[in-house]
């Protein structure tokens, strides 16, 4: 019964309807500006905005749960060029780094497979933030808690699709049963490959499968996604083992130094007496 989304970036037009729909449905305010000084500029500048016409927010954040990335590719001779768009959000990983890290059970998975932050439980420890391999989940100074896309938890539990998928005019974002979406993705991939285009699915293997997965026309890096994302908790066993071994080593050093010398001293003393 797992639900998810398939984002076919090859038919995205960069209209940002999804970004607007997300803000509206989830009642998200504008990202608060963080002003700072920039050399040579006499007035304070909002550092967290790009100031670019197409993409002012630049990244996902606590109030931007969707972000459309604009990628201009121009070859060296400036003859060939293409413009790629990709609408990004939380991937609702099957093995979610953020969920694994949370010490309070604020982050949970619902029966539909989506990962949500329970605002009334989150303590704002911020551990989930570096634990997401995709840099998605973000901290809000305003609420003192972590925020991210919920896969429209309220809508999907009432039989509706996500707001972004609903708003998308080209069908680039599709919401549905994971199995159906995969069929659609495979068909589209075969079609593109048949035309000789370079295309790939991103999200079948990563983190045991991303519930929100993508069709890319270039390497994931180009779209700002990690090439080999690792669920960070998979290092836990090795790290713990090495740390335990070190503790044993320190214990052994203590044993040698605290006991042997003592024995040596005992002997010396018995010699003297």
């Amino acid at each position: 019964m797992a639900k998810g989304m398939f984002v076919d970036t090859t038919i995205c037009t960069g209209c940002k309807a999804c970004q607007v729909a997300c803000k509206q449905w989830n009642g998200l305010s504008a990202e608060p500006a963080h002003f700072g000084k920039r050399p040579g500029v006499p007035y304070p500048v909002a550092d967290n905005f790009t100031g670019d016409s197409y993409d002012n927010t630049g990244t996902l954040s606590a109030t931007d749960w969707r972000h459309v990335r604009f990628i201009e590719q121009i070859d060296e001779s400036r003859r060939e060029k293409r413009w790629l768009f990709s609408s990004d959000s939380c991937k609702h990983c099957s093995d979610a780094g953020c969920l694994n890290a949370c010490p309070t059970k604020a982050i949970v998975r619902t029966d539909l497979g989506n990962v949500v932050v329970q605002q009334e439980t989150c303590i704002g420890c911020k551990f989930c933030i570096p634990s997401c391999p995709y840099g998605v989940i973000s901290f809000s100074e305003e609420t003192g808690t972590a925020h991210k896309c919920t896969l429209c938890n309220d809508r999907i539990h009432n039989g509706l699709g996500t707001a972004c998928a609903k708003a998308c005019p080209t069908g680039s974002i599709r919401f549905g049963e994971l199995a159906d979406l995969k069929k659609r993705a495979d068909a589209r991939l075969a079609q593109l490959k048949g035309k000789g285009e370079k295309a790939r699915i991103y999200g079948y293997e990563e983190a045991d499968g991303l519930k929100v997965f993508y069709l890319f026309a270039d390497r994931p890096k180009v779209y700002g996604q990690p090439e080999d994302p690792v669920v960070p908790q998979r290092r836990l066993v090795l790290c713990s083992l090495v740390t335990i071994l070190t503790a044993l080593g320190v214990g052994a050093a203590a044993l040698v130094n605290f006991r042997e010398r003592l024995n040596g001293r005992d002997e010396e003393e018995s010699h003297e007496s």
Binding site: K105, T121, G124, F127, C132, G135, L238, N257, F258
Partner: protein
């Protein structure tokens, strides 16, 4: 990996790195004291006593920075009780969750040791319990406490290693090891400073502590080298001005290498009191700067 997309948690160094340092020193002091108690002859108890007098008072400070750094400090108890179910919650794959619980165990053990020493030194007394005094399972909580102490000193490093932040991820799996070793060394320095303060810094026990500390500090240098090799390009921030001062000058040169040289040197040519005192302070400062550097280098 495309590192640029991983978000830093923006943990404030003056809370979190200071917590790493204080908890590491407290835990280091405690396990040194407990092992002296367990392995030593029991004739000299200055080191283990000093350890108990250091571990608990330092530990009381610990919740302050930890809670202050939360976005919602008033909800800190959610770390122990799931607020929507009302039952205790432990997440075994989250070092932060396990660490919170072990911190609780460690506090109890170090409180018991602290009280025990106060009673032994006749600072306080519990007339009602005096009959049971000899039946207190001291060895039991010394063992439990030193296990918890090792955990507290090391888990903060593991916690950093199991994130996606490029520097912290690349230094896996040795950050926990480095933090344990550093905790042992700052713990030993804290004990020595306490003994100087109480004018009890002489005798075989202190010599043994010094010998232990030399081994520990050499391994600390080895681990730092290993960490940097593993980190590769992700360690580049450590080459920028503030980190050169903090990490290379503060931690490596003045905090470890110089005190280590001093320790070997003073075996043959004893120095005066002031340099001895200063070199312990250097070790402590080095330990703090180590935590600040490694925390901040992962949060740029």
């Amino acid at each position: 990996m495309s590192p640029e997309i991983i978000q830093p948690p923006e943990w404030a160094w003056y809370y979190i790195a200071v917590y790493f340092f204080v908890a590491g020193t407290s835990a280091g002091a405690y396990f040194i004291g407990a092992m002296e108690e367990l392995f030593g002859s029991g004739r000299e108890r200055e080191v283990s006593r000093a350890a108990c007098y250091i571990a608990f008072p330092l530990l009381i400070l610990v919740p302050i920075p930890l809670i202050a750094d939360l976005g919602r400090p008033e909800r800190f108890w959610h770390l122990f009780i799931y607020n929507q179910g009302g039952y205790p919650y432990l997440n075994l794959v989250s070092p932060m969750s396990v660490g919170s619980w072990v911190l609780l165990i460690f506090s109890v053990c170090s409180l018991l040791s602290f009280l025990d020493n106060l009673v032994a030194d006749r600072v306080i007394s519990f007339p009602l319990f005096s009959r049971y005094y000899n039946r207190i399972p001291r060895r039991l909580y010394a063992v439990l406490g030193s296990l918890a102490g090792f955990f507290i000193a090391g888990y903060t490093g593991v916690l950093l290693n199991v994130t996606a932040s490029p520097f912290w991820a690349a230094t896996s799996p040795f950050m926990g090891a480095l933090f344990i070793v550093s905790g042992a060394s700052t713990g030993a320095a804290a004990i020595s400073l306490y003994l100087i303060w109480r004018r009890r810094n002489s005798g075989g026990e202190v010599e043994r502590l010094e010998a232990f500390d030399r081994v520990v500090m050499v391994s600390e240098l080895v681990l730092i080298a290993l960490l940097l090799v593993l980190a590769g390009r992700t360690a580049l921030p450590l080459m920028t001005p503030p980190f050169v001062a903090m990490f290379w000058l503060g931690t490596v040169a003045l905090g470890i290498a110089a005190p280590l040289w001093f320790k070997y040197r003073s075996r043959r040519h004893p120095f005066g009191d002031a340099p001895v005192l200063a070199h312990y302070l250097c070790i402590l400062a080095g330990g703090l700067l180590l935590r600040i550097s490694l925390l901040q280098a992962g949060q740029l």
